[in-house]
């Protein structure tokens, strides 16, 4: 655990399990942010991960910002910011199909 910021407070979230080596972990983080932004974009949210700061930084167009430790926390934070859950089966995400 990082003694300055307290991350991580639990053993990795299951979504962090897919990478074993440090290089893979970094690659997975960057790919993850790309996928997150595809899903968050239609809701006016953006995710940022520079690969250095632990967790993912989530920002809304109105200026709200939050650092979340894992994806479970990210979806809860996104729901709080927008007032509606980010639904991968919803019309907003699937609209232009």
């Amino acid at each position: 655990m990082c003694s300055a910021c307290g991350y991580p407070a639990a053993p990795g979230h299951w979504t962090d399990a897919g990478a074993a080596s440090p290089g893979d972990r970094l690659r997975v983080r960057f790919q993850r942010v790309k996928a997150l932004n595809t899903l968050l974009g239609p809701y006016g949210l953006a995710a940022h991960d520079d690969g250095v700061i632990p967790g993912v930084q989530l920002a809304s167009r109105t200026g709200a910002r939050e650092i979340v430790p894992d994806l479970a926390a990210l979806w809860s934070a996104a729901e709080r910011m927008t007032g509606t859950p980010v639904d991968p089966l919803g019309d907003r995400f699937l609209a232009d199909d």
Binding site: A9, A10, P11, G12, H13, W14, T15, A17, G18, A19, A20, S21, D24, R27, V28, R29, Q31, R32, K34, A35, L36, T38, L39, L71, A72, W75, S76, E79, P85, V86, D87, P88, L89, G90, F93, L94, D97
Partner: protein, 309 residues
């Protein structure tokens, strides 16, 4: 973290009132199926009875006077933390497994969630398996009348039919279980002793379960994973899906290729267990995901996954 090393394995043993949990467990402990095990017995009634039967087989903790999935959840957390503490002390006795025998009123899914949410236990305990016993004699009647029996069956990794020799229509009950939880292995045991089940004859129809409100039987939705799919977008997609639709998706099972190896994913409602790394078979054969739930729009699920990955 994907390794089980250092974490204590927990098996949850559930099943309806009178399904034969204690009988089965007593025999399993006698046979040494769980290795060096500590048993936690939960009874919803104030006066515990079952522990007397189990004491002879090893260490037993009794949590009486409340059900651990709801009212006595704090007691369970405290008992498990106590075990973890005792285990990490110098000179502690080796312990392989903790077996939690739930009360007949418990739904195993909230217990799994409570352990995951506890900051101490999530580091020390690995939920190994949820075994649910189904009463061969009364199971059909319970399923027809009480949604709790269905919730227990839906949450199981393994289903064991008890009293198979006394069951009025075992095949119909088996077909019903296969419909409620298609992912679970079904075996039978009489008085705790394995009872071989013949293959289920074709054409046996499951019981007509009343489909009202939230108790409609769940259906499996297989989702073929695109070849060469990356783990990152997939995990983003699945975690978002479970966040929004976790109430309706009762089980998730699948094998997914990742840079770390093939991961076995298993989830109950919103809780996904730490994925296990499976040995690589060499050929890309089994990359599928099965969602079991109610009112899942299979077409939307596939379109959504395609769009993101």
């Amino acid at each position: 973290m994907t390794e089980a090393e250092g974490r204590l394995r927990l098996t949850i043993l559930g099943g309806y009132l009178g399904a034969g949990k204690t009988t089965w467990l007593r025999h399993a402990l006698y046979e040494g199926r769980f290795g060096k095990a500590h048993v936690i017995v939960n009874e919803a009634a104030e006066i515990p009875v079952d522990d007397a039967f189990l004491r002879s087989s090893g260490e037993v903790t009794v949590l009486a006077g409340g059900c651990v999935c709801c009212t006595a959840r704090a007691d369970l957390i405290a008992a498990l933390r106590g075990l973890c503490d005792a285990r990490s002390r110098a000179g502690a006795v080796r312990l392989d497994t903790v077996v939690l025998e739930t009360s007949g009123l418990a739904d195993p899914a909230p217990i799994a969630e409570a352990i995951r949410a506890d900051p101490v236990l999530t580091r020390h305990i690995l939920l190994d398996e949820i075994i649910v016993l189904v009463d061969g004699l009364h199971g059909a009647a319970q399923l027809a009348s009480d949604p709790l029996g269905r919730h227990q069956i839906e949450a199981a990794d393994r289903l064991i039919l008890t009293k198979p020799d006394a069951a009025p229509d075992l095949n119909r009950l088996r077909a019903t279980l296969a419909r409620l939880n298609p992912g679970a292995e079904v075996t039978a045991a009489a008085h705790g002793v394995d009872w071989p089940l013949p293959p289920l004859p074709a054409g046996v129809l499951p019981m007509d379960l009343v489909e009202t409100g939230d108790v409609a039987p769940p259906v499996p939705v297989p989702v073929a994973l695109p070849e060469g799919m990356d783990w990152s977008p997939f995990s983003v997609w699945l975690s978002a899906l479970l966040h929004v639709h976790g109430d309706r998706i009762v089980r998730v099972k699948g094998v997914v290729r990742t840079p770390a190896g093939r991961l076995l994913l298993q989830g109950v409602r919103r809780t996904v267990q730490s994925p296990e790394i499976l040995p690589d078979p060499g050929a890309p054969t089994d990359d599928t995901l099965v969602l079991i739930g109610r009112d899942i729009d299979a077409d939307r699920v596939r379109r959504s996954l395609q769009k993101l990955v």
